[in-house]
């Protein structure tokens, strides 16, 4: 079988993702230095919010989505050994790229400094929202392409779903569960607002946005978890501790990742306490699959040590291949994700949330999750994917080992400082933390520490872009049979593989969690506010 077409898709998507990562990271550095009092680089407020919008949109949405699409095509085609529909695949890629270019052009033109959450009634140019709409359309066609191929495979083989494919499908299901929320917001409210100045109800729009915004984080995270399940046993020459528990974890993500968005609205007036409380508890449930993932992976690591005759209780930790860049990157991702998860439980707590809402604690939190657990995993996985998909050898092998270590050190410093500053009330999304001299001196000290971490982090990013860019362009040719990365399994399907059952259950839970808040919002009567420029 020939995968030329699929591999070309993956190559374009991944190169596009790397380019976006480089641009977005640059904005991250500028922002960080601007927020640091007395640093030599200071953006003006409108430059700052342009930068912050670009950083958020390009990294949180574009970098992740494009890398994930490239990865998904690679996994599905090789693990299931099937081809995808050529026209759908190309159409989805063209639409997605056109959408991103439109939105990015709107941001860079300076007319759309609305951040990646684009809360109305702040109004961006119509190009911004139209670009997003086209991007979402592109991703829907992409998801359809994958599902059509999967259904064909399933009919032909009737076997159990292999684990990486299971992860990819879960990712796409969550994307399809989530995106209707933002699509409704953009098409019903925001495009009319930007074209015809139609007033928008902010509470309604925010609820649709966060209906999308939370499951979005699982859309990022699940491919990373899939890569963990994929690489850890291969790097340690063993099998996963259990094949079943990972599937249970994926299913729990399908069930509980969406009906929790209101945990971003705990301090929004207009949503009753009991609905906030319900979604707080539902958020706790969605930590269960993360716990299960941690268990399976750690148990796999220990198992491989015992299989090699290891006896000591904690000796397996020392024996792990810490000099392997892929292993080290994944291990650091898991460690920082653990802290991200603990912090997440605090964010999701009905009462504690008030202490951290909109402070730099939150910024510290999601730089552990999306900017490390996800981004660092994607980075180190690229050291395998570049040979496998591009057939190019990595040029600077030593740099691949240095890079995840630097990211880990930089992020630990940056994120710890931002977490602590958040507890002292330092707000996020502000270009200047001095507040006319009222700011406590601890804010300034912590901002300076964060800047040191952020610079280290950024250097690691530069090394990554440099190394993977030169390798893709100039690396020695390697003939690698990527299919050999995957093993052929031929097990009988079980109830865990009946994905449609779980999707139906998920829809029921989503309806139960959201019908009452929406009833409350609509029965009170809306209070739309007229749009204003940023």
């Amino acid at each position: 079988m020939n995968f030329k077409l699929e591999d070309r898709f993956s190559k374009i998507a991944i190169v596009f993702a790397f380019t976006v990562l480089a641009i977005g990271g640059m904005f991250g550095l500028l922002q960080l230095l601007t927020r640091t009092p007395y640093s030599p680089i200071q953006l003006s407020p409108d430059q700052y919010y342009l930068s912050l919008t670009a950083h958020g949109v390009l990294l949180a949405i574009v970098w992740t989505a494009f890398f994930i699409m490239g990865l998904a095509v690679f996994v599905i085609s090789r693990e299931l050994n099937i081809n995808l529909n050529k026209y759908l695949l190309q159409g989805s890629l063209i639409l997605s790229i056109v959408g991103v270019i439109m939105t990015t052009a709107a941001i860079l033109s300076g007319t759309s400094n609305v951040l990646y959450t684009f809360y109305p009634p702040m109004n961006a140019s119509a190009l911004f929202y139209l670009g997003l709409t086209i991007l979402i359309l592109g991703t829907w066609i992409f998801a359809a392409t994958i599902f059509l191929a999967f259904i064909r495979w399933k009919k032909a083989t009737k076997s159990a779903i292999p684990i990486a494919t299971f992860g990819v499908l879960t990712t796409l299901i969550i994307w399809l569960e989530a995106t209707p929320g933002v699509a409704i917001e953009v098409i019903k409210d925001l495009i009319p607002m930007s074209l015809f100045n139609t007033p928008v109800d902010v509470l309604e729009a925010r609820t649709y946005f966060w209906y999308f915004g939370h499951p979005l984080v699982y859309f990022w995270l699940l491919p990373a978890i899939t890569l963990w399940y994929f690489f850890i046993p291969r790097l340690l020459n063993t099998k996963l501790y259990s094949e079943r528990l990972p599937k249970v974890a994926f299913i729990l993500f399908i069930l509980f990742s969406t009906p929790v968005g209101i945990h971003h609205q705990f301090v929004d007036p207009g949503i009753a306490n009991q609905y906030k409380f319900l979604q707080s508890v539902l958020t706790y449930l969605v930590t269960i699959p993360s716990f299960l993932t941690a268990f399976t992976l750690l148990a796999t690591m220990e198992k491989s040590y015992r299989e090699r005759g290891g006896k000591s209780l904690f000796g397996w930790i020392k024996e792990l291949p810490w000099r392997d860049s892929v292993f080290a990157g994944i291990a650091f991702s898991m460690i920082l994700f653990a802290f991200g998860g603990i912090g997440g439980i605090i964010n999701a707590s009905y009462t504690l949330n008030a202490l951290v809402h909109n402070t730099t604690w939150i910024v510290g939190h999601f730089h552990l999750t999306v900017a490390t657990a996800v981004t660092l995993t994607f980075m180190v996985s690229s050291y395998v994917l570049i040979p496998a998909i591009f057939n190019k050898a990595i040029i600077f092998k030593k740099l691949t080992v240095l890079q995840p270590y630097l990211w880990f050190i930089g992020m630990t410093i940056f994120s710890t400082a931002f977490h602590i500053a958040g507890l002292y009330g330092m707000p996020r999304r502000t270009a200047d933390i001095l507040y006319g001299g009222l700011a406590p001196s601890i804010w300034i000290e912590l901002a300076q520490i964060a800047a040191i971490g952020g610079v280290i982090l950024w250097v690691s990013g530069v090394i990554f872009i440099f190394n993977s860019g030169t390798s893709i362009l100039k690396g020695a040719h390697v003939a690698m049979d990527a299919g050999s990365l995957f093993e052929k399994v031929n097990e009988k399907e079980t109830i865990l593989d009946r994905i449609s059952v779980w999707v139906i259950l998920a829809i029921i839970i989503i309806i139960l969690a959201y019908v009452f808040p929406f009833l409350q919002i609509y029965s009170r009567g809306l209070s739309p506010a007229p749009p204003l420029p940023p």
Partner: protein
């Protein structure tokens, strides 16, 4: 799932989460409640700001949030026990955070937020009030001051 380690791990996870939910329930009974009450307020220009002591130690504080100021910009409270805040945004989304306390609420345009703050009895001095949601270029200049005298 017959593996005994898996089973016991799941049991531990469920125990931890049950404890957390129990703690949440406890938390809801000791005073703090998220600021959830609101009323639609489309006639934003009729809203009057100001501070009134309605009973000894009980204040009603009505605040306008707008680009890029809070009105009143200095709030002085003498021996406050309870403060009932009523806040309205006249333009875009803002935040209202009193730094160093658990007062943190989104201020939605055309919605009036109403919530009560039980002021800890030891709290006194000057506190920063900041807008903690991006509201435009002047967002970093949107702050006010709360002074508690005892």
């Amino acid at each position: 799932m017959t593996d005994k380690f898996e089973i016991s791990f799941i049991a531990v996870v469920i125990a931890i989460l049950s404890f957390f939910v129990y703690a949440l329930l406890q938390g809801t009974t000791i005073g703090y409640q998220p600021p959830s009450a609101c009323s639609v307020y489309p006639a934003v220009n009729t809203f009057k700001s100001g501070v009134v002591e309605i009973q000894p130690g009980v204040y009603e504080v009505r605040i306008v949030a707008a680009r890029y100021y809070f009105d009143p910009s200095t709030i002085i409270l003498k021996n406050p026990k309870k403060v009932i805040f009523e806040i309205l945004s006249k333009d875009v989304l803002h935040g209202f955070e009193i730094v160093g306390t658990n007062v943190n609420v989104m201020v939605l345009p055309y919605y009036q937020a109403t919530f009560t703050w039980d002021v800890p009895s030891e709290l006194k001095g000057n506190f920063m009030i900041i807008c903690n949601e991006y509201c435009g270029n002047g967002h970093p200049n949107m702050y006010a001051e709360l002074i508690i005298e005892r």
